[in-house]
């Protein structure tokens, strides 16, 4: 187990290095001159001479060879120093640290909502297989999986904030502010996860051990909850990796719409403002989070199903 984790982490290192090189290359070759932009931003009169631009270029180190820049940046990144933002004159690491909690709060709330909604819905659909609750849930999940997050966000704003006035429209001032963006994030994955759990449960129900449990006198729900759910959970947990990826992506659009002061909003602002150090830092951070999350998801299969744990150990 420990060796498997170590191996996976070691494999992740060259991948993340490649990612950082890719993004560094992209940023360096992007159209537009960051030195000129920065010089203009500093000079409110908007009259920047060539000398000003060159001075700024030297100051932020853009006149050095590409390889030197990359190695310097990487050396800093290893020590947790991701450079200084062009836009905000704070360090990139500091800004990410300041906002990571807001994004995490949103993502965790959404994930909790997904699990809290999808498990009972999937159970209900399997329990009432081919009866009306199953059909209703089927239609709802089809629509839920198809509606774009940015459209859904505005539907939620119109219904719960503008019309009913129950929840705040945007911002992160109150605790209730998290509800609407988290709902906007949760609907799509909930739709898919509940369907997955349903079909997984339907498979498990026909297994011998469920028949044994039923014959011992357990009711349908009791047998499924005690013996079925854990077995049915394996394909669902496999899908959680995709859900977490979808949450990371969804957070970007949803944070912009709800003015949520997290990393997604920062990403879009940095891209629009061509804040190159910030973009590089955010990509490296997102890549690291993604790799670690996928590792955690892979490890969790073993907790649910010992057969997988054995196979993983054999293959390493």
């Amino acid at each position: 187990m420990g060796r498997y984790v170590l191996r996976r982490l070691l494999i992740a290192i060259p991948t993340l290095l490649g990612l950082s090189l890719l993004i560094f290359t992209l940023v360096s070759n992007a159209p537009g001159d960051p030195a000129e932009e920065l010089a203009r931003r500093r000079d409110s009169r908007n009259e920047v001479s060539r000398a000003d631009i060159e001075r700024v270029r030297h100051e932020i180190g853009l006149d050095r060879p590409f390889v030197t820049q990359y190695v310097d940046w990487l050396g800093g990144a290893v020590h947790g120093d991701l450079g200084t933002s062009f836009l905000r004159s704070t360090s990139v690491g500091h800004e990410i640290g300041k906002r990571v909690l807001a994004s995490a709060q949103l993502a965790v709330t959404a994930l909790a909502a997904i699990l809290l909604l999808a498990v009972p819905l999937g159970l209900a659909a399997a329990m009432y297989h081919r009866h009306w609750p199953d059909h209703v849930l089927r239609v709802l999940s089809l629509v839920g999986a198809s509606v774009p997050g940015f459209f859904l966000s505005y539907l939620l704003i119109i219904l719960f904030a503008t019309r009913l006035g129950l929840l705040p429209v945007a911002g992160r001032e109150e605790l209730a502010s998290v509800v609407l963006p988290a709902m906007a994030l949760a609907v799509g994955p909930t739709a898919v996860v509940s369907r997955l759990l349903r079909s997984s449960l339907l498979e498990v129900i026909s297994e011998d051990y469920i028949r044994t449990a039923r014959s011992k006198g357990l009711g349908w729900l009791g047998a499924v909850l005690r013996h079925g759910l854990r077995n049915a959970a394996v394909p669902v947990v496999t899908y959680l990796g995709t859900v977490l990826g979808a949450l990371l992506e969804g957070v970007v659009i949803v944070e912009v719409i709800f003015a949520w002061p997290g990393l997604g909003q920062l990403t879009v602002q940095s891209i629009s403002g061509r804040d190159y150090p910030m973009i590089q830092g955010l990509v490296l951070f997102a890549g690291t989070v993604y790799v670690v999350m996928n590792l955690l998801v892979d490890l969790s299969y073993g907790l649910l199903d010992p057969r997988i744990r054995v196979e993983a150990a054999r293959s390493t």
Partner: protein, 327 residues
Amino acid sequence: MSTSGAVLLQAGESFTVTRGKAFRRLVRDRTAVLGLVIIVLVGTACLLAPLLAHHDPIATDFSNRFASPSRSHPLGTDNVGRDVFSRILHGGRLSLGMAVSATAGITIVGLLLGLVAGIYGRLAETVIMRTVDVLLAMPTLILALVIVGLLGQSLRNLVITIILVQWPRYARLVRGMSLRIREQEFVEAARAVGATRFRIMLRHIAPNLVGPVVVFSTIDMGSTLLAVSGLSFLGFGVGPPTPEWGAMLAEARGFIGKAPQLLAFPGLSITLMVLAFNLAGDGLRDLLDPRTVESTPGLERGRLRRRKAPSPAAGAGTSQVTGNVIS
């Protein structure tokens, strides 16, 4: 997830076997047919936009702003008096056009690079597959956002970006399948009569892959449309006044209190098309899934009567395929 290819592999093989019956089974799947009908209807309407919509999609009329639906304007007018019906149809040409061309690009690039990696091996394989690893180490939409942001706002850049971030999944799939096909007898026979590696790749292996890959890219159409309109919504697609569904939705958010219908029409259009692609894609996926081959057509899907315990590979594969619905 290296195991995820396993089920797709089997699926690809069963596709070639059951292709004859495939169409009949698809037609009997009512929801899949519904999806196909919606795609054809909306697609045709968008293609024929200049004939169906009598108003210029970008002609403003300030004396007739926020008009309610009427005979002349079936969906009313927007904040500067442009005909919404016309904008939806013309917008669909761009939105769906981008989704289709991105899908075509992803398929071609993924197929080519996956084949080269699978057939030539060695350095080519190392370079391609390590690039795949790197590109898959990021959530695709975030990477797309960064790339399109750096390339600059335009339709072409948006499509290029989607292709850049999506081909790795296809390349990985194609490489896996071509590794399997490479070991089959007819390839050995071709090698025995002296066919070059290039010829084997093109004439013997590629034709066996095109079918499954095209089907998978069709299944992905819904999520590609979501990605395209999402990036466009964030302002990385077309600029005003060009109509495009994501951009129209972004424009309408300023009038959310005054005219929520302006938000609803492009939003519903995207939802409807993604739904249609998902329905049709679900039908196609069922055709490919070897486990449903035996099941009676027309019965509800998802009722899989497998007696065997799910292997981890099968579980991962299922999730990967289902994942396309929203990711």
